[in-house]
């Protein structure tokens, strides 16, 4: 009796599992396979964290990107600690600071003062900012109590006393969003241009291909430089920002457009496309409902892989001083400030944003890899 019920329970479970597998859509299947790709999952969580921090920069960053701490200029990173000479504590703390003179250069230096402890607090009151640009808040994720006459700088400060940690968080938002919007612009362009070329073929395809080639042969960096230099000096940082994304987006589409075109060409004569045509579907419906879904996975992979290029382009342009300009912050802008021998010598912590660039680019590449493996229907055979 119990045996029989157990068996049928097991059977029911198996049936359930099968049903789940068979009615799983392409995306579910890809997700199942992607989940098993550990490196990609790790990269995805890292990137997710970065994106979250960027989106909620006002909350995550203890201070604004341009707020100065005149008492702690070119200060070293303050690593939260649990123990010091005076014993240990459960709550992490940082030491206070005092100013000393370097005995050799006589430069004023901020050094930790082991006598004073400032405990780190969560959800502390601080600067009044607008979350996402419209929700006013005055609480921040971490910080020191407002009663203390000191600010916390996890990653130190720059030559104007601005908090590197906060600036990096804000820069993450700018750089990632430029990547996303730039990729979206080029994606939409690629979809339209590649779609038209691939579906209609013949002369239209020929003309579009030649135009694409012309755009592809223009050397990218000089072109960016020229266009960026052509931006009026009096433009606001927002205008420059949008112009930058537009420039990046407008020149990023050819590769993707080619991919879409060739995919469309290759499945144009598939039986199921013919079947759709014979079912009386119009070209628009055939492209959108029948053709595009069959290679969206490839497009997604392409998109994911093209993010790093966008981010790197932005960083490179800003780094050489042709992209975003201060006071807006992006990874490139931050790194531009760090490009002096003096920075390397005296304030190496200004290079921390470079780690972000490396991590973000690597993460995108690893995720792209994972998605490609997951989206490849033949992956199981290998």
């Amino acid at each position: 009796m119990t045996d029989a019920t157990q068996l049928s329970a097991a059977e029911a479970k198996e049936r359930e599992r099968q049903l789940k597998y068979y009615s799983a859509s392409q995306w579910t299947l890809i997700w199942w396979r992607f989940r098993r790709h550990r490196a990609a999952m790790l990269a995805a969580s890292l990137l997710g964290l970065m994106a979250l921090a960027g989106i909620f920069a006002e909350f995550v960053a203890p201070y604004g990107p341009v707020s100065r701490d005149t008492k702690y200029i070119e200060g070293a990173p303050q690593i939260p600690r649990f123990c010091d000479a005076g014993g240990c504590s459960v709550v992490p703390f940082i030491n206070g600071t005092k100013t000393e003179r370097d005995p050799v250069t006589l430069r004023a230096l901020s050094v930790p003062d082991p006598e004073v402890r400032h405990y780190i607090k969560f959800f502390v009151k601080g600067e009044r900012v607008k979350l996402l640009g419209f929700i006013p808040i005055d609480r921040h994720l971490v910080g020191l109590s407002p009663d203390v006459d000191q600010k916390i700088h996890f990653w130190g400060t720059d030559d104007l006393g601005r908090d590197v940690f906060s600036r990096t968080i804000y820069a993450t938002r700018t750089s990632l969003s430029i990547g996303v919007i730039g990729v979206l612009i080029s994606f939409v362009l690629a979809l339209i241009i590649g779609g038209i070329a691939g579906y209609f073929g013949d002369i239209i395809d020929n003309v579009i291909q030649r135009v694409t080639e012309v755009i592809r042969v223009v050397p990218i960096i000089p072109l960016y430089m020229g266009l960026a230099a052509a931006m009026p000096k009096e433009w606001s940082t927002t205008q420059v920002y949008f112009a930058m994304t537009l420039i990046l987006g407008l020149f990023g589409w050819p590769t993707l457009a080619r991919r879409i075109r060739s995919q469309l060409l290759s499945i144009r004569n598939e039986d199921y496309v013919v079947a759709a045509r014979l079912a009386g579907a119009r070209p628009g419906r055939i492209i959108a409902q029948h053709m595009l879904p069959s290679f969206t996975s490839f497009i997604i992979v392409d998109l994911v892989i093209s993010f790093p290029y966008m981010i790197l382009s932005e960083t490179a342009l800003s780094f050489v001083g042709l992209g975003l300009r201060p006071p807006s912050v992006s990874w490139g802008v931050l790194l531009q400030q760090a490009q002096s021998v003096r920075a390397i010598e005296q304030t190496p912590w200004l290079f921390i944003p470079a780690i972000f660039v490396v991590v973000a680019v690597l993460a995108f590449t690893v995720i792209g890899d994972g998605v490609r493996d997951a989206a490849d229907p033949y992956a199981e055979a290998r």
Partner: protein
């Protein structure tokens, strides 16, 4: 007799995402010198995999089970224990090609396109025999000669794409035999070939095997082929050997249910009773195809210009499909069967000739030449217009064609590529309703989809699933449901059962017959398998190089064929009966149309006499008895006694085609 290959308790498993699967379980078989073992089974029965194991051709993920034994007795008497060989062992190289030759199914894919045939054969020879380049070439030419290729010394320098499918398969046989193997494994070697070519290749293989005293393993799903070539048979089902014995015992006196069912499911031309032709006024014509011509442009790119040559795929074809009738269309590959079907459906744009779709009421409107006012009227009352008048499908375009689509549909050959993998079964079936705007209410669509799914025996709970969950037969049901959901009057079935196993083939044919009875739909049934066509078709047309050579009621065309090509085609079909006389007619250098002489109402067909100049008379389709047309050199009748009767007398000779 001496055994060459002895396989015992062979189990093979694969580790996959779904867990461990075991496509072969405890299979045992052996091959003796000079004998042919036929391995028969449906797709997925493990027949190919078990022989690949003998050549160590399994992928790395495969595991050979405990207690499995594969012993090969080499030409020098050495016994090779195949599973124990390490990868990289030179014995494996000797085994492949030198000891065991292999012929694959797809002659297109088994040659490298970038080397000449001779190059590839001499390479195999020099790998296994110590001979020089020149000598190897001589052996290659000799082999090509033995497999019956004309002009072997020229063929040897040709590239694979210059050879036809049949010639390529012969060259493949030459390649497999070039190193003098003791055992030849042929994996569905004739499945991709036309029946007439298949018959030649089968004869050739049999002859070569006798000459060379080889052992041979012949893997196939076709019991008819096995009956012709094999001495012993092993029947496999789901990885297990279910029956073994001599070919005569297994086919004449099967012991296992599975073998019995398999045998029963095979349509046999000599046992099928085709449906009687639909004659009489009661059966009104649904579609009239008149003088259909389809040309394809073949583009050759040169440096600065593109040369376009026209290839005529369908040449002046005329026939009628009646309401509720199934017309079979048979012919070898490249004969234009598919093109005829697609041209009628207007999947190919735009053919010459007329395709007229008759509707309930008489009346005529040529949509191509209608005045703007008439067209507007038609457009506004689109459906009404279609209901009242015959529709000239050939001249429809744009929106008119799109809104006419639900009246006709197509079932494809390959159930894997014709279903969009990204859509659920429900959406796939509903597509013709939704895309053409026939229905938009979701509940209505659902109700119709469910009704059709039930009729096609698709479980309703499967509607939520995606196509990847289904087997070939189930997918083909989905395709049929999609084709029928808009309740069309006319469906083209383009080789819709040829990719399926025989038992499933039978189910699908039954399904189509039932649907025809219930819904009164007409089918154009395109297939190369004559027996299946005979099962379902009321009338049948034989196509050769884009032209009809014979057309008429199935029982006439298949059971008293009058055209030499039809006769050759029918004689080439192997029957699953080891005692049946298998004497395929080989039409050396093509065929000659018979000569028709008309006297009075009687038409006499005579063989073209020797020395008859084929150009002296045009070829025409001549009606030799009621509804039975044969392509003939039409010789004008002797002078008539009473000139007044001339028109009446020439009337039965409906000449529907001419060739310049």
């Amino acid at each position: 007799m001496t055994k060459i290959l002895d396989v015992e308790n062979l189990s093979i498993s694969f580790r996959t995402d779904e867990g461990l699967i075991t496509p072969v379980q405890n299979a045992s078989f052996s091959v003796e010198k000079g004998k042919t073992l036929g391995i028969v089974g449906e797709s997925g029965s493990g027949k190919s995999i078990s022989t690949k194991a003998a050549m160590r051709l399994l992928p790395n993920t495969a595991m050979i089970g405990e207690g499995s034994r594969i012993d090969y007795y080499a030409k020098n008497g050495q016994k090779i224990d195949v599973p124990s060989l390490r990868s990289g062992d030179p014995t494996i190289g000797r085994l492949r090609g030198g000891e065991i030759g292999m012929i694959f199914q797809e002659p297109m894919a088994s040659f490298s396109p970038v080397y000449t045939v001779g190059n590839q054969i001499t390479e195999a020879i020099r790998l296994h025999r110590k001979v020089g380049r020149r000598e190897a070439r001589e052996i290659a030419v000799d082999m090509l000669d033995r497999v019956g290729l004309t002009n072997p010394s020229q063929r040897v320098d040709q590239y694979p794409h210059e050879l036809s499918g049949g010639m390529r398969q012969r060259a493949m046989i030459a390649l497999a035999l070039s190193a003098g193997p003791a055992l030849l494994i042929a994996d569905e070697p004739t499945t991709a070939l036309d029946v007439t070519i298949q018959a030649q290749v089968l004869k050739l293989m049999k002859k070569l095997q006798e000459e060379l005293e080889m052992g041979m393993i012949f893997i196939t799903h076709d019991l008819g082929v096995v009956a012709q070539v094999a001495d012993d048979v092993v029947v496999m089902q789901k990885g297990e050997v279910v029956e073994r014995g001599t070919v005569r015992d297994v086919i004449r006196n099967p012991q296992e249910d599975y073998t019995k069912r398999l045998l029963a499911a095979i349509p046999r031309l000599d046992r099928v009773k085709p449906p009687a032709a639909l004659t009489g006024k009661k059966h009104r014509p649904l579609i009239d195809v008149k003088n259909l011509v389809v040309d394809f442009d073949v583009k050759t790119k040169r440096m600065f210009r593109t040369d376009i040559t026209k290839v005529r795929a369908v040449d002046d074809v005329s026939f009628t499909i009646k309401k509720g009738e199934t017309v079979g269309l048979v012919g070898e590959s490249g004969s234009g069967k598919t093109t005829v079907g697609r041209a009628i459906l207007r999947a190919i744009d735009p053919p010459d000739g007329e395709v007229v779709f008759h509707r309930k009421k008489k009346g005529d409107i040529d949509l191509a030449h209608a005045s703007a006012e008439e067209l507007r009227a038609v457009r506004s009352k689109l459906n009404m217009a279609f209901h009242e008048r015959p529709v000239h499908v050939h001249s429809l375009g744009g929106d008119l064609l799109r809104s006419f689509r639900p009246e006709m549909s197509l079932v494809f050959q390959d159930p894997y590529s014709s279903l969009n993998p990204r859509m659920t079964v429900r959406d796939i079936i509903a597509e013709p309703l939704v895309a053409s705007g026939l229905m938009s209410n979701r509940d209505e669509v659902d109700a119709r989809v469910r009704e059709i799914a039930e009729r096609c025996k698709i479980e309703l709970e499967h509607l939520r699933r995606f196509p990847h969950a289904f087997s070939g037969g189930q997918r083909q049901r989905i395709c049929i449901a999609r084709a029928l959901v808009s309740k069309p009057k006319f469906v083209v079935c383009d080789e819709c059962v040829s990719a399926l196993d025989v038992s499933i083939q039978a189910e699908i044919v039954d399904l189509l017959k039932n649907i025809q009875e219930e819904m009164g739909v007409s089918f154009l049934f395109i297939a190369h398998d004559l027996a299946v066509v005979a099962q379902i078709s009321h009338s049948v047309a034989v196509l050769y190089h884009g032209k009809f050579v014979e057309y008429g009621p199935t029982e006439k065309v298949f059971y008293s064929p009058r055209h030499p090509y039809t006769q050759a085609l029918l004689s080439a079909v192997p029957h699953p009966d080891p005692d049946a006389v298998f004497a395929p007619i080989r039409l050396e250098g093509g065929f000659r149309h018979p000569v028709a002489t008309v006297s009075g109402e009687k038409v006499t067909l005579t063989d073209a006499p020797a020395g008859f100049d084929p150009n002296s008379a045009p070829v025409k389709l001549v009606e030799i008895e009621e509804g039975h047309f044969v392509a003939c050199h039409y010789v004008e009748e002797m002078p008539l006694q009473n000139p007044g009767l001339a028109s009446e007398i020439s009337a039965p000779v409906r000449v529907t085609g001419t060739v310049a």
